[in-house]
Amino acid sequence: MNSLSSSLVQAWPYAAAFAVGALIPRRESKFERFALGIVGLLAAAFISSMWPEKAVENAAAPPMEWDQLLNLIVFLPIVGAVAILFMPRQSPQLLRRVTMVILGLDFIASLWLLKVPMTDGWHFQYVREWLPGFGIRYHVAVDGISVWLVILSTFTTPLAAYASFGSLKKRTKDLCFSLLLLHGAMLGAFVSLDLFLFYVFWELMLVPMLILIGIWGGVEKIKASYKFFLYTMAGSLLMLAAILYMVWTHEQVAGYVTFDYLALSRLVLPQTAAYLCFAAFALAFLIKVPMFPLHTWLPDAHVQAPTGGSVILAAVLLKLGTYAYIRFCMGMFAGPAYAAAANLAGVAIGGGILYAALVAWKQTDIKKLIAYSSVAHLGFVMLGLFTGTEAGIAGGVLQMVNHGISTGALFILVGVIYDRRHTRLVSEFGGLAKVMPIYTACFVLITMSSIGVPGTNGFVGEFMVIMGSFTSSVLGSHGKLQGGLAAFGVILAAVYMLSMVQKTFFGPLSNPKNKHLKDLNVRETVVLAPLIAMVFVLGLFPNLFLDRMKSSVSGVTARFMDSTREFRNAMDTNPDRAVLLPRLSGALSSGYPEDPKKQTEAPESATAALDKESAQ
């Protein structure tokens, strides 16, 4: 009785959130009320689950990690996508509900990841042989960095899907299929620790995103979809070449074939090859980010893509580039990454933060403006990673999440006005605050978060990145100048965002077509509410995020510096030979036998040693 009552007491915030969702006025069907209630409940559960639990913290019994959890999270949407193919095209309502249920379940499952304290190392690790002859394994795991990207993905995709269901009414089956497949592929890329597996998921993302842009896009959709697909594929093919080279070299040095990230990150390539392979990987990732001057596909893709597609693209897909840069470029090519960081940081500031901001300022299309602001924001993320300091990297990772939330919300907001007026030109609007007060309030709020006003999420990340670049040893003597310029970029962000907001929402209501616009409907409110809540949660309690990623970030940073040192040593002794570093301590040790042949080879090497002795 006592436990029942206490659990009732504990459940009250969820019940209240459910009630709020279910009792929203002007709803027709009971099902919709129920669904909205569930949305409210999930939002409450998400926010509450981010606070670390005190009762469970018990050193003797660490919380259980169910090793199938990541498989569930990744393959639930993929299996769902296949199942969608066999469902009737004629009942879009069924398809939408199934999609939402799958995405919701995926979100709940991903919340479990937060129940485990993210200590340094891999969590929820699952390893199985896939193609043993090829050294290919199915190997997934999360650490304190990727866990946030997984959750960002499971958090924003349902919102994007729900927003798309409001505006895209035709070809629902294709929409559901591509949303689910895209979701699964993105999650898979975030968690895979086998280069082959990573590549498979990385390429698997292309087709559903292509479908999203190509079917529901604007006038220039076909050009935009080609551009997206071919740009990304160009990068990834060079990456594949580099992967194959590394695997082959590793086989020469270590004596066994493997595509495993942890094994390959011990490899130090000969000098030229190391720089070329780093360039191939970095090119693939910087195209995806995208960083100036490889960014030209992004404005096209964003402008043409439908709202839901833009949200996923901005919130999650671009993060794959930045995430993969930390994981693979900095993890496997520390030396070249260190050497290139200062120059790349210059490009990120000059081409990304400053140039993209100026370009954004001159845009007349709101969506294009936000697309360019994405380039600028991701310039901040990349700058944070290039600094190689703990603050910078943590700020960069935090900024990835921030950008996902605020830019995702901005795209949803632009979609709202586009659904009503079918135009996104700033000159068509003006004085919208008079007819759409709630919408204006949301827009201004998200704008503040995007600019990085203190108290919102954007502030913390940008502050940490700039702080990191001031203290960075990687950037060398120019670090302070670069930090200063990046800070100037924040001001530019305020200039272009606020001038757009001013022209769109304030001033006289000049255009008569805008006189009778309706304010946000319930669907749009429901989509925006969790995002706005997250703006404040992240802005006021950034430690919820930073604490969980802290040990992984410091592990990544330390390993980056260590491997750079090792790389330099190796280059000093013999720059033309590939060598294998000893097993590095820390997060790289993954808790399973790294060398599949070690056990079988051990007796052989023992006999070889005996032979040597007898020969002597």
Binding site: G133, V200, F229, L230, L240, A241, L244, W248
Partner: protein, 513 residues
């Protein structure tokens, strides 16, 4: 001595062809009076494509199954096979190729079973010809002697010349058939001349003997004329490059592929190319596998590498400019020949891996290409054949299943994971990396990007474009056999993409004892 079982892959196909020919000749033709009228000559086997196609497919699938069965027993456990050497070398490579060839032939037969009646060229000769050509291809792939090689080549080619010209009334088919016949004979003559020179230089027609004689060049007492050997090698390479349609020997390919009935095109793209590559690999490695001839400085690898780069790049660039999907697929098959050549070059330093990668690539290429042509067949019907990109516009909406199948095969051809084509490419380029051919591998991978553009174009038309008002539309046909072929090919494409372990191990096991 019991040769019945060891030779069963060949015997089943050969005797099956004869049986089917009898059935076709003495079967009662079934003619639609309204369409044909009485003034038309009624061919033997007319109107029986359904039955004959199924029969041919069963025979060829039986050939494939028997190839696997002999593989399971293992050629090394069948000493009787030694009797046939050097004319027929039924080793594991030959058995693997025989499996792939039978598979390709079976796809062509199944597709023809639906295509021929639909397009009113319902003539029974097609099926015995397909089987006999497959038989020739199997002999070609297994030949260990220049004479049996030539016999296999001609058996295969003669059947294919006839298959191309099956649509007698069409001038394009006649042009295609004549073109292929003339150029094919020319290539055969080149090969024969090369064989004569080799015989003159070495005194051998069997590949192994030639190889031993070539290896003796430069040793004291050797009378082999090195210049004649090189000339013979070049002529043989040129003749085989015609058959695999490598640039610049590709001129016949687009016309022949476009003019032929699509199932015949499928057969050419799949089986003829596979057999030619099989024999190319055998000739190069058995006769010219000498370390001097296999080196980068003095041997054939740089020539093949040059051909590979030329073939991939030119074919991919031209394919992107095509307006007809069938012609695009023709150029795409040329481009794929370039990728296989990369694998052949890789045998230079990594013989086992290079050969295995070529074999596996040919398997994945067979299923994806047969599937792509099959999907193209499925998308059209009588009077409304799918030819240009515009014909396919909006197909994703009108006929989602056909469009989905087409998409899967195109993605496989483009080398996107998780399909068979991706693994094929991966293996080829891995072998190239293992041979330290870095530039070749990178160029090959970048070529896949060019390739992705035109495969993507089909997908863009099917899903993203609406047909122009009043434009002629391709109406998908209804045929159980074509659908069946697509289901089998689709299953194989996905299975080889997700779990390619067994066939990969088989390909590797075939070359490394």
């Amino acid at each position: 001595m019991n040769l019945l079982f060891p030779l069963s892959p060949l015997l089943a196909v050969g005797f099956g062809a004869l049986l089917l020919m009898l059935a076709e000749a003495f079967g009662k033709p079934q003619v639609d009076k309204e369409l044909h009228g009485t003034e038309h000559i009624v061919d033997a086997g007319a109107g029986r494509s359904g039955e004959l196609g199924l029969g041919a497919a069963v025979i060829l699938f039986a050939g494939a199954v028997l190839s696997v069965a002999v593989w399971m027993v293992g050629p090394q456990n069948l000493p009787e096979l030694k009797l046939l050497e050097p004319w027929l070398v039924m080793d594991r490579v030959a058995l693997f190729m025989s499996f792939v060839l039978c598979l390709g032939g079976a796809f062509a037969a199944l597709l023809a079973g639906g295509y021929l009646p639909e397009h009113n060229i319902d003539r029974g000769e097609f099926f015995p010809l397909v089987i006999l050509a497959t038989f020739g291809a199997q002999v070609l792939a297994a030949s260990g002697d220049l004479l049996s090689l030539f016999i296999g080549l001609e058996t295969m080619s003669l059947g294919v010349y006839a298959l191309i010209g099956l649509r007698r009334g069409s001038p394009r088919a006649a042009e295609a058939s004549l073109k292929y016949f003339l150029l094919g004979s020319f290539a055969a003559a080149l090969m024969l001349f090369g064989a004569a020179l080799l015989y003159g230089a070495t005194g051998h027609t069997d590949l192994k003997g030639i190889g031993e004689a070539v290896a003796s060049i430069g040793q004291p007492g050797s009378t082999v004329n090195a210049a004649l050997v090189v000339l013979g090698l070049v002529l043989n390479l040129a003749g085989l490059a015609f058959k695999v349609s490598a640039v610049p020997f590709h001129m016949w390919t687009p016309d022949a592929y476009e003019g032929a009935p699509t199932p015949a095109t499928t057969f050419m793209a799949v089986a003829v190319k596979t057999a030619a590559f099989a024999v190319m690999m055998r000739v190069l490695l058995t006769s010219f596998g000498d370390e001097r001839l296999m080196s980068w400085g003095t041997g054939w690898p740089p020539v093949l590498a040059f051909l590979a780069i030329l073939t991939m790049t030119v074919a991919n660039l031209i394919a992107g400019r095509q307006e007809s999907v069938k012609r695009m697929l023709a150029y795409s098959s040329i481009a794929h020949a370039g990728y296989v050549l990369v694998g052949l070059v890789a045998t230079m330093r990594a013989p086992a891996e290079g050969q295995a990668s070529v074999m596996f690539y040919l398997l994945t290429y067979t299923v994806s290409t047969a599937g792509a042509f099959g999907a193209l067949i499925l998308c059209g019907s009588r009077g409304a054949e799918a030819v240009s990109y515009e014909d396919l516009a909006g197909l994703g909406k009108r006929h989602p299943a056909a469009a989905l199948a087409f998409t899967v095969f195109l993605l496989s051809l483009a080398g996107m994971p998780p399909t068979a084509g991706f693994f094929g490419k991966l293996y080829i380029f891995r072998a190239a990396m293992g041979s330290e051919l870095y530039l070749l591998a990178v160029l090959g991978l970048l070529n896949s990007l060019l390739g992705a553009y035109y495969y993507l174009r089909v997908i863009v038309f099917m899903y993203f474009r609406e047909p122009a008002p009043g434009a002629p539309l391709a109406v998908p046909m209804r045929s159980g056999m074509v659908t069946g072929a697509l289901v089998i090919a689709g299953f194989l494409v996905l299975a080889l993409g997700i779990a390619p372990g067994t066939p990969l191990a088989m390909a590797l096991g075939a070359v490394s004892p």
